[in-house]
Assembly symmetry: C3
């Protein structure tokens, strides 16, 4: 099954691509690699999520927030490539979790993004991954994701 | 206009390339990608800047510090490639801001680097970007930048 | 001398590859680049190390911990490529140090990994590098490393 079919079957609707937070592009392609800029979770109830894991947000809520930010990443892929079926492989995913110093469940939070990539892209969605806990993020968002994607060659 | 002409018109002088802080190289090339090591702001009044955004440094000062670290990145590019005109595209820029936990203006700080890349490289300077707030950096520097550059093919 | 010979001469034994901490792969190859997922120090006395640099661990202990995590990275390379002699170049190493906000010796800690790469791979082990101090990591591990490797072409 193709990624476009899977996303339809899952009933997922991609959001409009969010604007860059500064003087940069949402993604840059070099050869057959697409480098995607850092993305935060989508607005909920009209407001961008704000707060830290282990204080304002639980690990379970963090999972949902990571899934949300990943949906924005995927919207960028669709916007840049025209179709999700142009993805050969999700190469790398890096997550930065805005958390209190005692937080330890970064892996469970980031699985919200990794699970979504696997659901949509199948084996091509299984990526190399790293995750860190940071003390602050722009506008106080609870996490950001960035990714590198391999595009199918013409 | 070429990058070399633009940097001359801007009256910018590239600093000597700073030495690595440990057992590694300032940059490594693989294929037509140049991966540049983390760089901190240049010394001011003979001393390397030290302190955190939101405590020792304001956002406006952070913008200047990001521009300064970016000048060191660009000096590495010139050193490795011989000429800035060999840059096909600035692919990716990643910034780590040494900040207090309440800091939220990471994007404004990093624009100091992004704006400089756009001024010097034009459209080829518009990159994918990510930025995080970290709780500590080597020698207490206020920020570090790393970048990936696509080099023109022979 | 080859990397396989050097590791034998050093008397180093590679550990079994540690399992991913979530829904992802230990490494993904794209073209001739191998992207390796974040790795923590190996268990000591049967327990995974836990704690922060500048509190539970000194810089000297951190050097040993970085060397340990790097050994896990190298085990992944061996597992994915069959032989360490397939490495053309260690391209990039990124270290995240779980540290107290006053910590400043990130470079000395990360040299534990960089020195090992140089010992095993010689000039092909000299990489681009970046290091940050983070406020938390999964399961409270003291540091993680990720790397990008260029593989020899068939």
């Amino acid at each position: 099954m193709s990624a476009e079919q899977r996303i339809k079957n899952l009933g997922l609707v991609l959001p409009p691509v969010s604007a860059p937070a500064g003087n940069y592009a949402t993604a840059v392609r070099s050869g057959n690699l697409l480098f995607i800029s850092g993305k935060a979770p989508l607005p909920m109830d009209g407001k961008p999520p704000k707060g830290k894991l282990g204080r304002e947000y639980s690990t379970t809520e963090g999972y949902v927030l990571a899934r949300s930010a990943c949906l924005d990443l995927i919207a960028v892929i669709k916007d840049k490539l025209g179709s999700l079926d142009e993805v050969a492989q999700v190469v790398e995913l890096h997550g930065s979790i805005n958390a209190v110093p005692e937080f330890e469940e970064h892996a469970k939070v980031l699985d919200g993004a990794s699970d979504l990539l696997a659901e949509i892209f199948g084996p091509a969605g299984i990526h190399a991954r790293s995750v860190i806990g940071v003390s602050s993020l722009r506008n106080g968002v609870p996490l950001t994701l960035k990714a590198t994607i391999e595009v199918k060659l013409g």
